[in-house]
Amino acid sequence: VTAELRARVALLTTQGLLLGLTSALLIVPVSAIFLQHYGSSRLPYAYLGTAVIGVFLSSRISGALQRLSLIRLGILTMGGAAMFIAASWVLLRTVDAVWTSFGLWVLFPLLLQLGFVFIGGQAGRLLDVRQIKRYFPRAVLGFAAGFLIGGVITIPLAGRLPTEDMLILTTVAAIGLVASFVVSGRRYHSLLAVADAPHPDGVRLRASSVLRSRFVGTVFIYQVLSAAGSQLADFLAFDRAAARYSEAGQLAQFAGVLTVLVNIVDIAALVFVAGFLMTRLGLRYTLMANPAVVAMFAAGMMVTGASVGVASTMFFILAASTRILDTVFTDGTTRTSVNATFQAMPPGDRFAAQTAVEGIGVPVGLGLVGTVLIAFHALGWGTMAVTVTMVVNCAAWVIAGTVVFRGYRRNLAVRIRRREIVPLGIRLDDPETSRAIDGLISSGDLARVRLGFDLLGEAEDERLPAALETMLDHPKPELVAEALRRLRAAPTPGAVTAATSLVTAEHAVLRIAAAGVLCSSGCPEVALPLLADPDREVRSAAAMALRETGSAAVAAFYIREWARSADAEDRRAAARTLGGVAALDDRDVTLMATLRNDPDETVQREAIEAAIRHPEAPVLDAILSGETPRRLIPIIARFLVSRGEGNAELMASGLRGERSVAGIPRWRLARACSAYSPEVAYAVVGPHLDDADDAVRHAARLALHGSGWRGTADDVELRRCLDDDRRRAVALLGAIAAIEPVDSSHLLVRGLRDALQAHTVAIAAAADLMTAIPVASRVARLSHSGTAVEIATAEEALEVTFVGERRELLVAMLRPGVAAADRLARLGYTVPALADVVASLIRNDGPAADPWLRVCAVWWLAQHPDPTLSGLVTGLPRQGDPVLTETAAAVLAAS
C-alpha cells in the first residue's frame, strides 16, 4: 500500500464521514419537525416526492456530465444542498415555514445517495477495481462513523437549542463536505476536475440513454430492489415499534437505541468484516449477500407472523434485526459491489451510469415503496402484506444480483479483450475523398497508385476502368504493367491494343502483363513468342497465361522442358508456373512430385509453394514423400493446412507418433490443426491437450482455441488437463522457491523460470478453452505489459470468470510480481527440500521433468557440490542426450 493510495483512501473516508455527519444532523431535526406537524401518515408522500425530485435531479446531473467535471458537479450539487438547508433554517426562524421540513425530508435520502454517487465516482477514478473492493468500505465506514457522531452530537443539543437551529450545524457540515470536494479537485485535478471527453460514438450521455444499456439496466433494477428492500425493512421495524410502544418517550428511546445499535454493528462490520468479505468472496457472492440475508429474515418474519402473529415479540425482534442486518450488508457489501460493477464499463460511461443507477434507482425504489404503502393503506392491508412484499422483493433482488454478476463478468472480459479491427465500408461519394483518390492515382508512385485502384475497386466505383485505361499511357513501365494486370480480368479494346504493342517492350514487367491480357482476350497466338523470351519470369508468365487458353499443350511442353533443365533457375520457373496455372492434370502432378524432390532446396520450396495453391490436386503423397529440409518445414506445414480436413487422419497419426509426416515436428502438426473445424480439431488434437511434450501440449491448446472449439468448465478432458497442469506448476514453483534463495543467478533458476513462464501460458490456453472470451491468456499478456489499472481489471475478470481450484491455480500463476514461495503457498503447498528438488530434476522423474532442466540440474552440482547427489550423475554420461552427456562428464571430471 503506497502513501499515495493511503492519501486517496483517507480523502474518500473523510468525505464519507462528512456526508454521514451532514445526514445525521439533517434527519434528527427534520424528522422531529415533520412528524410533529404532519405525522407519519404523510411519510409515503415524502417518499414519492423523493422519487420525483430524485429522478429529475439525477437526470440533470447525467446531462451536465459533458459540460462539467465530476468534481465541479459534486461541488455544485452539495453546495446547492447546503444553501437549501441554510435557506430552510432562515425561513423556519423568520416565518415559521414548517412546510420546508417536507423539502428537507425529501432532501435527506437524495443527499445521502447523491453524496455516495460523487464519492463513488471519485473512487472509480482514483482507485482500480480491486482497490475499490478492498478500500471503498472505508469510505462507507467514514459515513457510518459520521452518522453516529452526528447522532451523538444531537443528544445534548436536543432541548437546549430550538430544533430548527440544529440546521446551522447541518449547514456547517454540508459546507465541510463541499470543501472536501474542493480539496479533492485541486489535488487530483487531471483525474477529477476535467470534463469527460465526448463519447467516441458521438452519443450524448444522458440517464435515459445510459439505462438502455442491458448491463446498466440490470444494475439499475438491482439498485431499485435494494432501495425498496431497505425501505421496507425500515418501515417494518418502526411500524412494529410504533405498535409496541404507545408512549412517544418509549418510541424515541427505542429509536435512539436502534440507531446506536445499527451504527455500532455497522461500524464493527465495516472495520472487521467488509473488506475481508469483498476481497475473499468476490462480487458473485457480495452482490447476493444482502438480499439473501434479508430474505432469510423476512421469510422468518412471514412464518412467525402467520404462526404467532405480527404483534408477537419474536416478530418484533426479527423486524429490528432485519433492519440492523440490512444496514450492515448495505454498507458492507452492496454499496461497494454496486460501485465496483461500474468498473466493467468504459471509463467515459461510468459516472453517467453511476448517476443514473444510484441517483435515480434509489429514489425510484423509495417511490415504489411509498406507492405500495399508500395502496396497502387504502386497501386496509397491514403488516403481513408488507412482510410478504418484502419476501417477494428480496427474491427478485437475489435474481437481479445473479444477472448483474453475469453481466459484470461478461463486460469485464470484453473490456480486457483485445480490440478488434472492424473493416469499414468505403464510400467515395464526397468530393474530398474523390479528390484524394484522384491524387493517389495521379501521384506516379506505384504504392499510392495501387492504393487508389484498390479503393476504387473495393467501392466498385465505375471510374475504375477509365482510370486504368488512362494509366496505359503513363511513362513509368511499372504503372502501365499494374494497369494491365488489373485489366486482365475484363480486357478493354484499349488494353488489348496496348498489350499487343508491349509484347516486344524493353521492360520485362510490361511483357509479363501483356501476356496475361493477350491470353485472356482471346489472342494467345500473339503471346506465343514470349515462351522463348530471354527472361524466365516472362516465359513463366506466358506459360501460365497460355495454359488457360487454346495453347495449353504448347505451354505444357515448355514447362516440362524447363523442369528437365540442368539449370535450377529453369526448374524453379517450372515449379512457379505450375503454381500459377488454374488446374493441374496428372502429368503436372507427376512433374510437381519430381520437383518436390529436386536436389536443389530452392526448387523444392517453389514446388511446395506451388502445391499449396492447388489444395484440390492429388499431390499430398508427392509433397510428403522424401526428406524435408528443416527450413522447408514451415511451408510443408502450411501446405497441410491448405489441404483442409481431408488429411485430418494423417495429422492425427503423425501426432500420435505412428508415422512421420515429412519430418514435421509434432508441435507444428498440432498448431496447423487450428485451421480445422472445431469438431475435427478436437478429434485430432484433443488427446494431446496433456501431451508429455510441453511444445505439443501448448500447440494443441492453441490450435483448439484457434479452431473456435469451446468446452465447458465441466469438460472431463479439460479438468484432467488442468489437474496435470497444477501438479507441474506446483513442482516448478517448489523447485524455484527451493533453489532461488541459494543462487538466484544460476542457469537452473533461469531454466525453471522459463519453464514456469511457458507452463503459465499453457495453463491460460487450457483455461480459455472453458470460456467464451479468452480471459486467462489476456491476463497472462496484460500481467507483463499492462498498466496497473489494466492488470487490476484483468485479475478481477479472472477471479469472476473462474471458480474453485481452477481460480486458485490461475490466480496463483498469473498474478504478476509474486514470489514463487507465495504462489506455492496460495496453492496450499510448502517449499520442498533443495536436495529433493535437484535429485528429482536429475532423475527426470517428477512432474517438472524436462531434458533441459535435467542438464541445468546436473550443472548446478558443478557449482554446488552435494555428496549425497553425486551418485545420480555417475551413470549419466552413458545416456543419449549429447548435452547431458558432456555436462555430466564435466561435472564428474571436476569432482
Partner: protein, 142 residues
C-alpha cells in the same frame, strides 16, 4: 566450451536476455568457437555480413580506418543486424588482444528460429528498443 557455458554466456547477452534458456541451448549447439589473436581482423568494412559474433573473452575494436568507433569486451555482440538483414559490414573489427568468440551464422540462426519462433520474439524486442530510442545496437556499427 560446454553447451551450458555457452548458454550461460548467451543468457547474459542483452540481445538474448528474453529468449528461454532451452532455446539458447539449441542456439549454442550451432555456434562455433573461434580463437583470434591480437591484431587479427575479424571482419572488414564493406564485406558481406552474414554472421554474428559474441565475445567470450578478450577485447576487440570496431573501426573505420584509424577511427575507433567502439571497443568490445566479454559479453559484447558484433554484427547482430546481419542475422536479420545481411548487408555489407559498416566497419572493420580487429582483435586488440587474444580473444575467444562464438560465431552464429545467419543460416544456422534461421534454422533454429524455424523450430523456436520465440527466438525471433526475443530478438525483435531487443531491436525495437533501439528503434524506439532512435539509436543502433553497439555491435551493429560493424
Amino acid at each position: 566450451m560446454l553447451t551450458v557455458e555457452k548458454v550461460s554466456l548467451l543468457a547474459s547477452v542483452e540481445m538474448f536476455a528474453r529468449v528461454p534458456s532451452a532455446v539458447l541451448a539449441s542456439l549454442a549447439g550451432v555456434m562455433a568457437e573461434r580463437q583470434v589473436t591480437a591484431g587479427d581482423v575479424v571482419m572488414t568494412k564493406g564485406e558481406p555480413g552474414d554472421a554474428l559474433f559474441v565475445v567470450v573473452d578478450g577485447s576487440l575494436r570496431a573501426h573505420s580506418g584509424e577511427r575507433v568507433l567502439a571497443t568490445m569486451g566479454p559479453g559484447s555482440v558484433i554484427g547482430e543486424l546481419a542475422l536479420l538483414d545481411p548487408a555489407p559490414r559498416a566497419a572493420s573489427v580487429t582483435a586488440d588482444e587474444d580473444s575467444l568468440l562464438l560465431v552464429l551464422a545467419k543460416d544456422d540462426f534461421d534454422l533454429v528460429m524455424t523450430d523456436h519462433p520465440e527466438l525471433s520474439e526475443g530478438v525483435i524486442r531487443y531491436l525495437v528498443r533501439f528503434v524506439r530510442a532512435g539509436t543502433a545496437p553497439t555491435g551493429s556499427t560493424a
